[in-house]
């Protein structure tokens, strides 16, 4: 058991209500609203109200990146050193620029280099000098809160001392027209909890928190992150559970994590989007978690709008303001509370007088998103409560099942073809692969969600089935490209009038993981990591940070689809490969100590700012002797787009530790795609189990002599995943 405490020691924010903490405080006190008709792009109807920041980025990066940097700089303004790690939530990434380029039919790959959601965190890492773990999560509207939860767990784990955590999303056609196609935008501006409410106001912004681990509160601490909880509805791709069951579970998990009861909460910053369904579902959840008495509560989305992945982080900042200023922010826009909700929101801002005993010490902030992803964060006045002791982090997982799909078929087909030909690249034959899925369940699904459901089913079928996965961790470099492209295509083809609601719902990066949750009724954490070529490894690290229960089954998936137009312009490595490929891998993991194959995520670091990263890597693996003793081969991930950098890094690694066993460049036989490492992991597990590696794309076959395989990812990041038959 350990009791490290996590404090907020830096804050950065930009929203339609202003740039910086001071302006934000002022806007809250004056109950200003940042919602007005959209002007950022022309629309073919009366412009709907949205949260727009009066700001035009001047540099080369898209709007989301520019907003994120503004928030990051403010959060770090008093820091002398870069953050040890960065965790960022984003759903739009470079979409504000991408959608313009697609509209202009400009397919110059260089202009798309900041498209990936993961490129936002990478850009912040580069600009701040971070050399450590960088994670990007894309779980729709809960992303910002999830980033804070992951930051909290990274600090609790002792891996790092500081984390920059938050979220960023810019307003763009995709989100504006997407939510409008779902009839979820209120033409009068969001009126959360109001009886006449008709929907949200899509917004934009960024907020970053510098989180620091200490045993005692540092002088510059604004507040403490006391705990956070996650859950998944496993109910519907876009609608919340009507009874708010998942939302209630997230709040309960947060209270448990914080070690307090519902009676200790002084104020709740609601998710409160203003849609009919969300507010009703959240109200039911609140009544179930707070059966006796509800604390003060309000939704600030009537003033700030709904900035999607930034919302959770922005609302964490609002929660801090509530505590430090002793103020209850208003539920802007609500005139007559909906009697069906049985809630009494704070109608206008109330500055409490602490000398009368009215003190806001503990705030609960809710964030819920598409795919039924729920997160709740508890922020606390410094040191009001003792830190709840929590279990020490363990890195080891036992693998109880695995499967891959590649250009030549499922796991067995892949292994057989590899044995004979040494390669399995090519495009997944989705009709063949998804034959195992009932047609009625996949009617509306395109390529990536079909791949993910097929992988999940195959891995589960192959497992011992003793433990059903209750949490899903999904890594994807690019998300559902078919849905994204089709949405924009139909939008522009119809003069920006008739996009497909189905494609919008399918285009969110976490849509496939949401489908997998429904499939397995997996109601715990549902995480989608989008870190480019390291997405699968990032998903594994998220699982490491969030899974402590021995009985919990974890589904870990990595997959990417090839898209005829987008893949070549987005993914440099794919563009360099003459033979397009896609596919993925899935594993069922547990924390049990049973004998079997073990997988350990041991290192992730940003290499661009760190000339000594290979030394750090070797040190983190326990040194040359341990590496040589435990591993009979290396599977190296060398993305074609980073070939020279990656080969230098590999050569340095080999020379430092005098590694003379086979090094297998797996992208030579999987093909070039962001989740190739997921396929490589599944194959490596199989070879460790068999104790030998066949001849693969030019390498000699070799015996492992009971040793494991070390998966190394090279390029802009360095990652390691250890695979062993038993623990060394």
């Amino acid at each position: 058991m350990t009791t490290t405490r996590v404090y907020i020691t830096g804050i950065g924010i930009i929203s339609p209500l202003g740039k910086g903490l001071a302006e934000t405080k002022k806007a809250i006190k004056l109950n200003r609203t940042g919602i007005k008709p959209v002007t950022l792009f022309p629309v073919p109807h009366t412009p709907l109200p949205a949260g727009e920041i009066d700001f035009i980025p001047t540099g080369e990066v898209p709007r989301t990146h520019a907003l994120a940097l503004i928030a990051a700089k403010e959060a770090l303004k008093d820091s002398k050193t870069p953050p040890d790690a960065i965790v960022l939530g984003s759903t739009t990434g470079g979409m504000p620029l991408t959608e313009n380029l697609i509209k202009e039919k400009n397919l110059d790959p260089h202009l798309y280099r900041y498209h990936a959601t993961g490129s936002v965190a990478e850009y912040i890492a580069k600009k701040t000098g971070c050399t450590g773990i960088v994670l990007t999560v894309s779980t729709a509207c809960s992303s910002g809160s999830l980033a804070i939860k992951l930051g909290l767990e990274l600090l609790r784990s002792g891996k790092v001392k500081t984390v920059l955590a938050g979220g960023a999303d810019a307003l763009c056609r995709l989100t504006y027209h997407g939510f409008n196609s779902l009839q979820l935008i209120d033409p009068n501006g969001a009126r959360p909890l109001d009886q006449k409410r008709k929907g949200m106001s899509v917004s934009e912004g960024a907020a970053m928190l510098l989180l620091s681990a200490h045993n005692n509160p540092p002088e510059n601490a604004f507040a403490e992150i006391l705990g956070a909880g996650l859950s998944c509805d496993a109910y519907h791709p876009a609608s919340p559970h009507p009874e708010g069951v998942g939302a209630a579970e997230a709040m309960k998990a947060a209270l448990k994590d914080a070690g307090i009861t519902q009676n200790d909460i002084d104020y709740i910053n609601l998710h409160g989007t203003g849609t009919i369904d969300n507010d009703l579902s959240e109200a039911k959840a609140l009544h179930s978690v707070f059966p006796d008495k509800l604390p003060y509560l309000s939704s600030t989305k009537g003033a700030f709008g709904h900035s999607l992945a930034a919302a959770g982080a922005i609302e964490a900042v609002i929660s801090v303001i509530s505590i430090t200023e002793n103020i209850l922010p208003a539920n802007t826009g609500c005139e007559t509370p909906d009697p069906a909700l049985k809630l009494t929101p704070v109608q206008s801002p109330i500055e409490l007088k602490s000398n009368e005993g009215n003190v806001i010490s503990t705030v609960l902030s809710n964030s819920f998103g598409f795919g039924g992803n729920n997160a709740a964060v508890i922020i606390n006045k410094t040191d009001k409560y003792k830190q709840n002791p929590y279990q020490k982090l363990r890195s080891v997982f036992t693998v109880t099942g695995s499967a891959c799909i590649t250009g030549v078929g499922n796991t067995n087909e892949t292994l057989n073809v590899l044995k004979n030909n040494g390669t399995c690249n090519g495009l997944v034959n989705i009709e063949h692969i998804s034959e195992i899925l009932p047609k009625s369940k996949i009617r509306r699904l395109k390529l990536l969600p079909k791949m993910v459901l097929s992988l999940a089913s195959l891995a589960y079928e192959q497992s011992d089935k003793n433990i059903k996965p209750s949490s899903i961790y999904f890594g994807t470099g690019w998300g559902s490209l078919s849905e994204t492209f089709d949405f924009l295509d139909k939008l522009y083809e119809s003069g920006e009038q008739f996009p497909s609601p189905t494609d919008f719902i399918g285009s969110v990066h976490n849509a496939p993981a949401g489908q997998a949750a429904i499939w397995f009724d997996a109601k715990k954490a549902n995480i989608t990591a989008t870190g480019g070529d390291f997405s699968f490894e990032q998903a594994l690290i998220c699982a490491e940070l969030l899974t402590r229960n021995e009985n919990e089954g974890v589904m870990l998936i990595g997959a990417d689809e090839h898209h005829n137009v987008l893949s070549k312009i987005l993914d440099e490595s794919t563009a360099l490969d003459s033979f397009p490929s896609d596919g993925g891998g899935a594993l069922i993991l547990t924390r049990s100590n049973n004998p079997g194959l073990k997988i350990i995520p041991s290192f992730l670091g940003y290499s661009i700012n760190n000339k000594k990263i290979i030394h750090f890597l070797i040190q983190s693996l326990g040194g040359a002797a341990r590496i040589n003793e435990l591993f009979g081969a290396v599977f190296a991930g060398i993305p074609a787009g980073r070939n020279s950098l990656a080969r230098e890094q590999l050569a340095e690694f080999q020379s430092i530790i005098s590694f003379n066993k086979p090094v297998i460049d797996y992208r030579k036989f999987t093909g070039e795609f962001a989740s190739a490492s997921a396929v490589a992991t599944v194959l490596a597990l199989q070879y460790v189990k068999e104790g030998a590696i066949p001849s693969l794309s030019g390498t000699e076959q070799c015996k492992l002599n009971g040793k494991g395989i070390l998966l190394l990812g090279f390029g802009d990041f360095i990652s390691t995943v250890e695979i062993q038959n038993q623990l060394g």
């Binding site: 009839q183 509306r444 497909s500």
Partner: protein
């Protein structure tokens, strides 16, 4: 009117890519959304787009949608009422 209903059925099948369904499988008065076909609110929104794009008729809220999409006949009636020139 029957011709219009037949035309609508074809459009519904095409819009929602209902591969295994023929117009004959869609009864004029069968429940369209939430019925045996397994169509749900997302399909309804997809049909909203098609109807506005092809007929210029808006169905812009959930309550109206629930009434209009109760059956193909109800949908045809609503379009006809909104734009009498279309269905004749």
């Amino acid at each position: 009117m029957n011709d219009f209903i037949a035309q609508l059925k074809k459009k519904i099948i095409k819009t929602l890519e209902l591969e295994d369904i023929t117009p004959d499988d869609l009864g004029d008065d069968d429940r369209l959304i939430g019925g045996e076909l397994g169509l749900d609110s997302i399909d309804a929104l997809e049909l909203v787009m098609m109807i506005e794009s092809d007929y210029g008729v808006k169905i812009d809220n959930k309550e109206l949608g629930e009434k209009v999409f109760s059956s193909v006949r109800a949908l045809a009636d609503y379009i006809k009422k909104s734009k009498p020139e279309i269905a004749n």
